[in-house]
Amino acid sequence: MVLSLIILYVLTLIYLSIADRFRNHTTILAIQGLLLFGIAMARLHSFHPVELSFIIVETLVFKAIVIPAILMRVINKTKINRIHSSSTQFGALVMSILALIASCAITYYMADNRTDMIFFGVALYALLSGLILIVLRQRIFAHLVGFLVIENGVFLFSMAIGVELPMLINLAIMLDILISILILGMFLRRLDDDMHTDESDALTSIKD
């Protein structure tokens, strides 16, 4: 069960590298939220109402519903549609596959008996995928998606390590991330309104 969810998660990351419409990016993020919910539930050792409700809020509510809704709102307001026309899908796919191979190699080198190797590898792949999106894509919205992919990777990473942080800390971390995304979404709209741009290349007015 967990393995099939993990494989689906890897497929969403590969698809994300070649998807060129931002609506598809948002849908993939919502699907990732659902998959993370499934993975977290499958790994739940015992029934704790508080822990269960936290998983539901973090994955199902925030990652699968609230954050995609915020992104859709940004897309609708800014009327941005696709990643930059000059971006090549093939190049991005090659980079993504290379990242997958690198993740496998690093996992093999790093993982020890306390770590779940499959989770570790996929988490690493998610992090690299997020970074690739940020580096390769010119549009600021793609950077925001990249940041969210990294955050999902961090969530998987915490499962790979098997760390159970106190609920208060988990809650604070979740709120921090949510507020950051809200503010990033707000400023992305400001950039579109005030500077009429959604490309990172236009953000070069501050220099020495």
Partner: protein, 470 residues
């Protein structure tokens, strides 16, 4: 701590519900008094080293940096009032500025007192959110760009730091992430994990401490924010980054196999920060960016001091303390200059000695102190770092540092002379000359010079306790 947090947060959001600017000023003053009262209460109630709300500890480092923050905050509030009136901002913007500044102060205080690796991370991320509003306060094109970059890079960087914390937590027993518990078990950790964790955490927190590699966002933030807020960001927030890294450093002191490697990483980052600072100090054409690169350079020296260890570690902490006083004073002076010239342009403004003699003398003396000319306290700390470098035999490091610092001295001093004596090419607003503000900014500078001549025993003992990492 709970009472302090509740009162501070209520006061921080209170300007949003009042109607007048005068009421916002009163609330800000009350907030400042609460900060002072909280420090007094720590001493009166003998709460030193006590754990509060399970995640805070009033250790020496927290209290020392809290005192420094409150000192800078007091002057920031005075200069902010003048700045906001001069800029003729709307009442809404006026109130939002004070709210964000106070929220930032609360978040920074929580970083100082945090006794838990994950909670330090949470509060550092909270400082990003509060700072963002202040950076965007002037609402011009560059401030929007700087804000976007600041939030995005800080959030991504801090997400990386969180990864490091997760790796670090593999050594934790039953998920306890307080520094003391981790310190007792860190030596059992996987060395490879610990190395990667250290690298990720330092790189992530570098955006706050304004060192290589994520220093750029801090420079842009200081450039875009109002000058008094820049003084606060460039000192109190930078110190929050320093405290966070120092706590990790102290933790790693117990990881015998990894500590030496971690110190080498800090030396490498420090040298690169110093190099970046030296290079961009020569290129910068804006006084605020110029002072920000000086922060990068000074924090580079601090990182090198931490990497060398021993006496240099003591000097690094002392350097941060004195840098806080000097740099905040310099930013306040630059804020006053902005009222007069309506510009921060290095190439265009000048003749400051004849326009505002008090401000010009304050800026020139501040520059000399920043360049570590005696009796600067930075001279004391830098000599201690150099002597420790010599004693450990790292001559190559000494040579590199001296070369880079010569470049820094040339870059800073030539620009300071230009401001004082070069002919002015910009429009002047002589009515904005405010000698009282110039004097008030000089108070912090005088405090720094006093520390250069005489270090009180209480400060020496406090730093001794902070650097006692065994």
């Amino acid at each position: 701590m709970l009472i302090y947090l509740i009162i501070s947060l209520i006061l921080a959001v209170a300007p949003l519900v009042v109607r007048t600017e005068r009421a916002s000023n009163i609330i800000a003053s009350l907030f400042f008094l609460v900060q002072v009262a909280s420090i007094v209460a720590l001493f009166v109630l003998k709460l030193h080293d006590s754990v509060m709300l399970s995640v805070f500890r009033a250790d020496t480092m927290a209290v020392l940096f809290h005192i420094l923050m409150v000192a800078v905050l007091g002057f920031t509030l005075i200069h902010s009032k003048s700045y906001l009136h001069a800029e003729e901002v709307s009442t809404r913007s006026y109130k939002a500025y004070y709210t964000l500044l106070m929220l930032l102060a609360v978040a920074i205080t929580c970083v100082y007192y945090s006794d838990n690796v994950a909670m330090t991370w949470v509060f550092l991320e909270a400082t990003t959110i509060c700072s963002a509003g202040i950076i965007y306060h002037r609402e011009f094109k560059q401030s929007l760009e700087a804000t976007w970059k600041y939030i995005f890079v800080c959030s991504t960087g801090i997400a990386m730091a969180y990864l490091g914390i997760l790796l670090l937590s593999t050594v934790a027993e039953h998920g306890t992430l307080d520094y003391e518990s981790l310190k007792s078990v860190i030596d059992n950790g996987n060395p490879l994990y610990l190395k990667v964790a250290f690298l990720l955490i330092v790189v992530g927190y570098s955006c706050k401490m304004e060192i290589f590699p994520l220093y750029t966002v801090g420079v842009d933030a200081n450039y875009a924010a109002p000058a008094p807020a820049s003084a606060f960001i460039s000192t109190a927030l930078v110190n929050a980054g320093f405290v966070s890294i120092m706590r990790i450093y102290t933790l790693y002191a117990s990881a015998t196999e990894v500590f030496s490697w971690a110190r080498h990483v800090l030396i490498f980052i420090g040298v690169l920060s110093l190099a970046v600072g030296a290079m961009f100090l020569r290129r910068s054409n804006n006084y605020k960016r110029f002072l920000s690169y000086s922060t990068v350079e000074n924090m580079g020296i601090v990182a090198i001091g931490m990497g060398i260890g021993g006496v240099a570690l003591w000097a690094a902490v002392f350097h941060v303390v004195c840098h806080t006083l000097v740099k905040s004073s310099m930013f306040f002076q630059v804020g006053i200059m902005r009222h007069i010239y309506n510009s921060y342009s290095i190439n265009r403004i000048g003749n400051y000695m004849n326009i505002n003699r008090v401000g010009a003398i304050g800026f020139i003396i501040g520059t000399l102190v920043l360049l570590a000319f005696p009796p600067s306290p930075l001279f004391v700390s830098e000599v201690m770092i150099f002597s420790e470098i010599v004693s450990v035999g790292s001559w190559w490091l000494l040579v590199i540092m001296l070369i880079l610092m010569c470049v820094v001295i040339y870059a800073i001093w030539s620009r300071t002379l230009r401001l004082g004596y070069h002919s002015n090419q910009d429009e002047l607003h002589l009515s904005a000359v405010n000698r009282r503000l110039s004097y008030s900014a000089a108070v912090l500078l005088i405090a720094a010079i006093v520390l250069g001549l005489w270090q009180p025993d209480v400060l020496k003992e406090a730093i001794d306790l902070i650097v006692n990492i065994e």
